[in-house]
């Protein structure tokens, strides 16, 4: 089956530090998204990025579909960035049936 692996699994940062989260996937992807899950369990959409690069404030993402990976960059991290980050892709082409990655648990400390 489809494998979506994220690294690192856990990350602790000091406030103000930068980080890069990686998502590797095992097949061609039609729809690649990044989410942030807050402590209450809600999934917040960060990026829809099947290819190319996008930026939104302190966050940016790059997907290289031909090499089957995506990166999420967090700059000048804040404590509110803490939580779990998931990448997820639609590998079926039939809509947005997402296969989620393994997740990166981020904790930002003062």
């Amino acid at each position: 089956g489809i494998q979506v692996e994220q690294s690192p699994p856990d990350l602790i940062l000091q406030e103000g530090a930068n980080s890069t989260l990686r998502c590797n996937f095992s097949d061609s992807v039609n729809n690649l998204q990044w989410f942030h899950q807050n402590p209450w369990g809600q999934l917040i959409n960060l990026f829809y990025i099947p290819s190319g690069t996008k930026q939104n404030g302190r966050l940016s993402a790059t997907t290289v579909a031909t090499e089957r990976y995506s990166l999420l960059y967090i700059s000048s991290s804040q404590t509110t960035d803490s939580g779990v980050y998931f990448c997820a892709g639609d590998f079926t082409g039939g809509g947005n049936k997402l296969t989620f990655g393994t997740g990166t648990q981020l904790k930002v400390e003062l």
């Binding site: 999934l43 809509g95 947005n96 049936k97 997402l98 989620f100 990655g101």
Partner: protein
């Protein structure tokens, strides 16, 4: 983006009982999906809720355990039947929007079975 409302937001249920989770969207959508997130795990797709026909279940999920209704283009329910503590999870509904079909999620239902 569409507003997706789930009810209840959380519940504590006795084993052997059933719970029905509702998902309401403020606009018509073609596809709705139900996901499960077990404690400390990632999200797994349970099924696609099809309007006017039976839901399509993913491997490992069956209709008897997770019956789904989709009476119209803005509403769906997921029932977790004959619950056991292993069913304790967050259940989330999702819809696709726009030409890209970007996925958006409801706030989730946190279920604890005791």
């Amino acid at each position: 983006s569409a507003v997706i409302s789930q009810k209840p937001s959380r519940d504590i249920c006795q084993r052997g009982t059933s719970l029905t989770i509702q998902c309401q969207v403020d606009s018509q959508v073609t596809m709705m999906f139900w996901y499960r997130q077990q404690p400390g795990q990632s999200l797994t797709l349970i099924a696609t809720a099809n309007q006017g026909s039976e839901a399509t279940y993913e491997s490992g999920f069956v209709i008897d355990k997770f019956p789904i209704s989709r009476p119209n283009l803005t509403f769906s329910t997921l029932t977790v039947s004959n619950m056991s503590p292993e069913d304790s999870s967050i259940y989330l509904c999702s819809v696709g929007e726009g030409v890209t079909n970007e996925a958006f999620f409801g706030q989730g239902t946190r279920l604890t079975v005791v």
